[in-house]
């Protein structure tokens, strides 16, 4: 019997305004049979620092966050802040 724990990014969602929603799944396996699974979520807004996030998430962010998307998002936030 062996217990293993793995954490993977199992879902990446890009919203209409460029926000990237990331879901990490942490699984506890016994002899490769899943005993439990827990999710942990985070969101990344266009233009924010993404150093330290998984490479596959960075790749999605870099693809989605064009200068136009980043500018539009920042403008959206500024409007809401007023």
């Amino acid at each position: 019997m062996s217990l293993t724990k793995s954490t993977v990014v199992d879902q990446i969602t890009v919203t209409e305004n460029g926000v990237v929603l990331v879901r990490e799944a942490t699984r506890i396996l016994e002899d490769n049979v899943e005993l439990s699974k827990a999710y942990h979520r985070s969101s990344l807004v266009p233009g924010q620092d993404i150093s330290g996030v998984p490479a596959n998430v960075q790749a999605i962010c870099n693809a989605a966050w064009t200068p136009e998307v980043v500018a539009a998002y920042q403008n959206q936030v500024a409007v809401l802040a007023q």
């Binding site: 999710y39 942990h40 807004v45 959206q76």
Partner: protein, 425 residues
């Protein structure tokens, strides 16, 4: 006694009266007898001496019986004629042999009872006998490997075709009852279909599929051992009788059936159906295998934009704490969420140990899901350190602001923020 015939006696030997037979005897036995009808009888044979040497003898057979032959009245009309005879012994000259009829290689047959005849339809070249008009289901060359042309003879219903090698060597068999040639080469035991007549009426046809490939099925060696058995086959086509599996449900009463192991029905107490109440009971999870699918409540009372519950998720998230103005220096925060359908319920607990230059309100960002409409997010909570109520509202798709119930800054360093909020995605 010796008598000499000379010119004086003119060589005449006469009998003493009109009924006596003149006999010449040698050794006490008559060798030549001449009766009153001038018939000369030789007891042995007549030897004719050659003009220079030798002799030709004419002799009767040892058991001659009484026979009479009358020579022809004239000599042969052509060289090589033979002496033939009628049953009465009247002899005549005739050609010694007949000339073959027809052409080269044509087999001779009796034509009309007295004459030879030949035909191009029946020839023999010394090796192969060829018949163009064999009576039977096929015209053709016996032993040939390719079909011949020409019309086929249709078998009558009562006709019998038999013979060793028949199926092997006859080319291009027609279908039973066909009147025209069938295409292809006839190989041993191969038919496109076979028709079996019922004892009273009707037929049963066994036929190969149109695109048969090359398949072979071997029938079982014995009849079924029980009624209802089915004919099954191995991948090699070896057939056998077997009791039909799957004819009986697996498991127990009310258990929903599933393919258990690939070839049999199975049932399990983990999945049952009550036909009276229509309840489907599952002891395990109901796993939605396709994104966007879920449980459809459209048959229940009430209507809505959507009555499909297509998502449920729970988990944690890490809130990012900031401020409307300035920055928070040190904090720790944790969050949890539950998403039911399109609605997200979040809980946040943050320990702001060093508020730094923060002022106005605290911001909570890094939400687990993006907010559909930020103006429709409302938060309620408490500053645990001061027991002061907190409120909040959405600021962007992933951030909201939290401040005291009276609109002031919740508190500086040492503030504990516990906030719940929910929103649509």
């Amino acid at each position: 006694m010796a008598s000499t015939i000379n010119a004086t006696t003119s060589g005449v030997v006469t009998t003493g009266d009109s009924v006596a037979t003149l006999s010449l005897q040698t050794g006490g036995t008559t060798a030549v007898a001449i009766d009153t009808a001038q018939i000369v009888t030789l007891s042995k044979s007549l030897a004719l001496l050659g003009s220079t040497s030798g002799s030709v003898a004419l002799a009767a057979p040892a058991t001659a019986g009484t026979q009479s032959y009358t020579l022809p009245t004239a000599q042969p009309t052509a060289d090589g004629f033979a002496l033939t005879s009628t049953k009465a012994g009247t002899m005549s000259w005739a050609a010694a042999s007949a000339t073959p009829a027809g052409s080269d290689t044509q087999v001779q047959y009796n034509s009309g009872g007295t004459a030879f005849a030949g035909s191009a339809n029946l020839t023999f070249n010394g090796t192969t006998l060829t018949a163009a008009g064999l009576a039977g289901p096929h015209n053709g060359t016996v032993g040939a490997t390719t079909p011949s042309t020409g019309s086929f003879t249709t078998l009558a219903a009562s006709s019998t075709v038999s013979g060793t090698g028949f199926s092997t060597y006859l080319a291009s068999p027609p279908a039973i009852g066909a009147t025209a040639a069938a295409a292809g080469t006839f190989t041993q035991g191969s038919f496109s279909s076979t028709v079996h007549r019922g004892s009273t009426s009707g037929t049963v046809t066994l036929a190969a599929p149109a695109t048969a490939g090359t398949q072979s099925y071997t029938l079982p060696t014995a009849q079924p051992t029980a009624n209802g058995q089915a004919l099954v086959a191995t991948t090699a086509g070896a057939m056998s009788w077997t009791t039909v599996s799957g004819g009986s449900p697996g498991g127990s009463d009310t258990q929903v059936q599933f393919n258990d192991g690939g070839s049999t029905f199975g049932g399990d107490s983990g999945l049952t159906y009550n036909k009276t109440t229509d309840d489907l009971t599952i002891l395990g999870n109901l796993v939605i295998g396709t994104s966007g699918k879920g449980i459809d409540f459209s048959a229940t009372p009430g209507t809505g934009t959507s009555e499909l519950l297509a998502d449920y998720e729970e988990g944690t998230w890490t809130p990012t704490i900031g401020a409307y103005a300035g920055t928070v220096t040190t904090y720790s925060a944790s969050g949890s969420y539950v998403k039911i359908g399109k609605q997200v319920f979040c809980a946040v607990f943050a320990n702001i140990s060093n508020a730094g230059t923060a002022s106005g309100s605290y911001s909570i960002s890094n939400l687990p899901f993006a907010i559909a409409t930020s103006t429709q997010v409302y938060a309620y909570g408490v500053n645990v350190a001061t027991n002061t109520s907190l409120i909040g509202n959405g600021a962007s798709s992933t951030m909201l602001y939290v401040l005291s119930y009276n609109g002031t800054f919740p508190g500086g360093s040492g503030t504990y923020v516990a906030v719940n909020f929910n929103y649509s995605v």
